[in-house]
Assembly symmetry: none
Homo-oligomer: 209 residues x 4
């Protein structure tokens, strides 16, 4: 059958649904047990199908991981871009939103799991790394850079603002996500307040007057 192979016949709607069920199940199990620790049988049970059925949709465990990463990321990034690019807002406001959304997305739910999977499996899987880089990082960085450039153009930001590496803005959202993965039980973090504070500090130095 399918295997997400472009050669193959496109999936019927029901098959797409099933594929998606498997991905959701896998995401849950990967979150609980990590990628290596996850058993295909558990994924199948979680998806309420037989173990063999997983292999009708993904040729092997690696491909399942890739499927999970792809399927989770696309809608997330779309939403980030859609939400953040409101042309009615000033560049500064857009930048604040951007950062908040990146923080909220990275740190909550599915993307946090993906982040963890990336850290574990990325180094062994170039396709994963590339995909994540181009779909998430590059687009996120570009969106931030765009805000900076816009701000300079409108005069809201100081001239040098578009020289700033966008990574400076993304660091705290990433930290919040990592904190959520590792330390939330030891020292819960008020992510919103942190991101607010982060924006405040950075924008203070950016805005003219």
């Amino acid at each position: 059958m399918a295997h997400n192979d472009p050669q193959c016949k496109p999936l019927t709607r029901a098959q797409q649904q099933r594929r998606s069920d498997i991905v959701r199940a896998a995401l849950k199990v990967f979150d609980r047990d990590g990628f290596e620790g996850a058993r295909i049988e558990d994924v199948a049970r979680e998806a309420e199908i037989a173990k063999g059925t997983v292999y009708l949709y993904f040729p092997n465990k690696q491909a399942l991981l890739e499927g999970v990463v792809h399927e989770v990321i696309s809608p997330e990034v779309d939403e980030v871009e859609r939400t953040a690019l409101d042309p009615q807002l000033s560049p500064g406001e857009r930048l604040r939103r951007q950062i908040k959304i990146i923080g909220a997305r990275l740190g909550s739910g599915d993307m946090k799991i993906i982040l963890r999977l990336m850290m574990g499996e990325g180094p062994k899987n170039e396709e994963l790394r590339k995909f994540y880089y181009h779909e998430v990082v590059e687009r996120g960085m570009a969106a931030i850079s765009q805000c900076l450039a816009d701000g300079v153009r409108t005069g809201e930001f100081v001239k040098s603002a578009d020289k700033i590496e966008p990574q400076v803005f993304a660091g705290t959202p990433l930290l919040a996500a990592v904190w959520g993965i590792l330390f939330d039980d030891l020292a819960p973090l008020d992510v919103n307040k942190l991101l607010e504070s982060h924006c405040e500090q950075l924008l203070t130095g950016l805005e003219r007057r």
Copy 2:
């Protein structure tokens, strides 16, 4: 024999050396294959000893992981604190140094591996999480907070500076480290320049005048 058990007789110098060799070997193999993917046999081969010998020093693979984390972290943190706490420097200068060192340490060599291991195994291993939190995160955060408080006291920083969450300062160093793990082959990052820029942005909003 030993097992790093405080109950046991202290290790001889030769034994400490061997234990350390095993830890170095494990670090290398964990880096290459991840924790779950690492085979004890490979660790042994890397350390140029027999498989069984590993078990003379660590009761199981988990303990080896913990040994690695402990042994790597302690000297790193010591060095960070030692380097950063030069009392001759102004609080602002100390803060810059702090961030640079955190970035350099997190992002280079052993601590990067530890970070990756933490992301993979931390969620399954509370002891690991706690250790890392108390030894690395808490101390790092405290050092940053200290700089902020000192700066306020000396009048170098604005009054509100000590209200800022130290995590704001640590985000970019963390991002640099994660970038180094995942994307350096796709888009190399000039970490020093990034951290410089990061300091610039943050301190601009912090310093009076």
Copy 3:
């Protein structure tokens, strides 16, 4: 799958057959190598299945042992009771038969292997001990005691006969079994003759006139 777990779905006929094949194979290998010396791989080869398949039917080696003991014992005991309880026979005759059958069963084939396994693993495994005691020993002792009581009631035996410990009657059959395990190549024993003689001696003192 199954694991003989009462929680699980009942096994299909084919699965029962396979489970039984594994038990037979294990019995053979346990007999040849002892329990600890037996390798699961050998059991699998003997059953003409893959090593992993054994674990579809038994969660571990201990459980396989217990499975073997249970599966072998039940039909044996049933047969002993069935054969021995012919109500047409006099108590004395029933007692003779009983002893002969115990001797024959204990000493031949599967029960001899079980006896040997019990001696080796029983001390470490209470469930095994309990099972063997209740299924084999207790029922065997009860059957003998019943004969004695019946004989007293019918007047065939002297009054005091039902005070005799049934173990007195079971000793020689046990000895015959142990002898068969250990010394048959050194000094073959005519079990039938021995049991005959044993009955003769004991019944002489029991029967009135």
Copy 4:
């Protein structure tokens, strides 16, 4: 060094002591864990020596087992024969004593352990089987037969008494020993009473008038 090899120099007194210590330690550990389950290291610890030292006295684990069996059996058998062969007693009395002593010896302490070891390892080790047969079984059977023959000669027993297989007399003592190994916690057995009863039954049919 020695290895109990007749080729080697005879052991010094201190060495004999140490060898004996190891045997006692091994007996204890074999009892607790069975032969296969016993670890040489535990034997060494029990004997309060280093693991390697065991190998100075026994070439391997099998030899240690043989050493244990040999060392335990000899004095036991000697004592049985010595105690039982009191020429002052009548053959009937000697037979009673014999049975009681066999029961007491087999069932208590070291010989019970040996019995269990024999059941487990005997089938794999002909030397062990032969040794036990010749040293224990054969001598025990001979002693019983001797009593029977003597009793016939003195007229105490019926003529046919020396046709009876001595195994008939040894069964109950063996059963008592096996019971002690397996079922004493489930249903304690009054061994003395049982053996008394056993003698009663058998001798009643043996003695003239």
